[in-house]
């Protein structure tokens, strides 16, 4: 009994009691369903449980990998989309961060305005983009026509090529503020004397940027691009709300495809298989990321 009392007063008990409610919630709502989801992927469960579900083992997976052209198209575009969104949002973020790093006035105001794409709901963002890009009165087409870049409106959302491009730009637009803020914080850790020393040694602006600044922000760059890669790969809202995967699956990504399989085609077993493939892919990326974070911790 004495050792029990001692245990209750110990640090271990205290810490775990504090964590208990959150842990319970996380296990019930995040961990168990995860495992259950993988389990469903081995069955032929349908949305309306109108006929008995039976275990089909790897049938769903075999179909996903060998017979589903739609899946491979979506997977390919998901990768392309993710890579381009990360690269583009990084480029934009870096340029904005460099601008903000200069001693300009009204920084507070600029910062608030620049955060808007990140902070508004995806529904509103998508609606505003669809409106701006519409081929009858949309502002983008109006500007293109008045600058004589095109003679007639471009049907952005109805054209497969343009839809893909718009999806990528939308993703980058929505996400660049995160990159910009992280990179700005990183830029501000570049010691002024290192830059001064380089300038005295005769470095011009380009050399200063590529040889001094960029290497200094490497850690932030690696962390942010990996996080952004993960978030973009997993993202459902942006594509679903902007293009719905269309036109005709041109901008389809696997998260949206899984959703359609489950709730439109009612095939939950198959949908679970698709999302489990996503999960495994992300697991590999997560292991890489966690290893990297632990390495940074040690340094």
């Amino acid at each position: 009994m004495k050792s029990l009392k001692k245990f209750i007063k110990s640090d271990t008990a205290f810490a775990w009691i504090l964590l208990a409610p959150a842990t319970l919630a996380l296990i019930l709502i995040r961990v168990l369903p995860l495992i259950e989801g993988v389990g469903i992927s081995f069955t032929n469960r349908r949305l309306l449980n109108d006929r008995p579900t039976r275990v089909v083992l790897f049938e769903n997976y075999i179909r996903v990998f060998t017979q589903d052209k739609e899946f491979w198209n979506a997977f390919l575009f998901t990768l392309i989309y993710t890579v381009f969104v990360v690269a583009l949002s990084y480029a934009i973020g870096l340029m904005i961060a460099l601008l903000m790093n200069m001693k300009i006035k009204f920084r507070g105001l600029f910062r608030v305005l620049l955060l808007i794409p990140w902070i508004i709901p995806a529904v509103v963002a998508a609606a505003s983009w669809k409106w701006a890009l519409n081929d009858q009165s949309g502002v983008v087409n109006q500007i293109l026509k008045s600058l004589h870049i095109v003679s007639s409106s471009i049907p952005f959302m109805a054209n497969p090529f343009w839809a893909k491009l718009v999806a990528i730009f939308f993703g980058a637009w929505k996400n660049y503020p995160y990159m910009a803020l992280s990179l700005l914080a990183g830029l501000q850790t570049v010691p002024e004397d290192t830059k001064e020393a380089a300038r005295i040694d005769g470095a011009n602006t380009f050399q200063l940027f590529f040889r001094v600044t960029l290497p200094q922000i490497r850690p932030v760059t690696v962390v942010c691009t990996t996080l952004m890669f993960i978030w973009t790969f997993n993202n459902f809202d942006n594509i679903y709300l902007l293009t719905g995967g269309g036109p005709d699956g041109a901008s389809q990504v696997i998260s949206v495809l899984s959703y359609y399989s489950a709730f439109a085609r009612m095939n939950m077993g198959y949908a679970s298989a698709i999302s489990t493939v996503m999960l495994v892919f992300m697991l590999i990326v997560a292991v890489f990321y966690i290893k990297m974070v632990m390495k940074e911790d040690k340094e």
Partner: protein, 282 residues
């Protein structure tokens, strides 16, 4: 020569501002266009090609506020947002404190932080199927309770992580002096630490609230009755049902971002520091 130098200086001085204004113009174009269009009058709306409203009108706003369920969606979003935020913040303070103060001394806590990190990387899409089926079994689909449970849990990993980061920055001396004065560990937490943790706590609550305000996927599956819907789902549904009423959609959308913008202006520091937690070391 001297004049050349002066001109160069002026141009270089203006350049950042010009670049920033240009960038903002391009970036905010869709949002500004949306707001401008929301003030156009219904008669000329579809054919209007000018950026500014030809005839300023509040008709679409009147329609949205009077004839649609917009206010209901707004209230739902606010209620769910506040409740989830309170619950999630409370649990993250407890959890974040435990992780921050005890991860070196208690076994398993280091693994717990990795567990939280890993949770943030999994696709939500993977969870919606089993969650939906489970909620269906318990019979809470199409209730606000299901959304409350889901949203609270989904905001936990990031919030606990942020609170942990924040508490890491509070020196242990505070608790040391408290313990010398005879406070129990729990008293140290709520009497000493929480009062000084204002910025961290507000970051976390804002994040949780913003998550609820913006969330679409889970809500669209779990809230089927129109009267229960939150703003994003209500708006999207409106867009799908009233495919020709872009004017009302523009006003509804502009109204939807108003609270977010006010929030942003008032709470910028907390929002930004919350966004930064965990990405930049030192």
């Amino acid at each position: 020569m001297k004049n050349d130098f002066k001109i160069k200086k002026v141009v270089y001085g203006i350049l950042p501002y010009a670049a920033m204004i240009f960038a903002l113009g391009v970036i905010l174009l869709p949002v500004v266009s949306m707001v401008m269009s929301s003030f156009k009058s219904p008669e000329t709306f579809m054919s209007s090609t000018s950026f500014f409203p030809e005839k300023f009108s509040l008709d679409y706003y009147r329609n949205v506020l009077g004839k649609t369920h917009f206010l209901k969606y707004l209230i739902n979003s606010v209620v769910i947002g506040v409740l989830v935020s309170l619950f999630s913040t409370f649990l993250s303070i407890l959890g974040g404190y435990a992780l921050s103060r005890f991860k070196k001394r208690v076994k398993g806590l280091k693994f717990y932080t990795i567990f939280l990190l890993a949770l943030q990387m999994f696709p939500v899409v993977q969870l919606i199927i089993p969650l939906y089926l489970t909620f269906q079994k318990i019979g809470i689909t199409n209730t606000r309770l299901s959304v409350f449970i889901a949203y609270s849990t989904f905001t936990l990993p990031l919030n606990i992580w942020m609170m942990q980061s924040y508490f890491d920055g509070i020196p242990y001396e505070l608790e040391e002096s408290g313990r010398i004065d005879g406070c129990s560990r729990l008293q140290c937490l709520y009497k000493l630490i929480v009062p000084v943790a204002g910025p961290g706590i507000s970051s976390v609550s804002i994040f949780a609230f913003n998550y609820c305000w913006n969330e679409y996927l889970l809500g669209s599956l779990l809230l089927k009755t129109d009267g229960l819907r939150t703003l994003p789902i209500g708006l999207q549904n409106f867009m799908q049902e009233q495919t020709t009423d872009w004017g009302s959609l523009m006003s509804a959308s502009s109204l939807a971002i108003l609270p977010v913008l006010i929030f942003l202006i008032v709470m910028q520091k907390q929002i930004i520091s919350g966004m930064m937690a965990g990405s930049v070391k030192g």
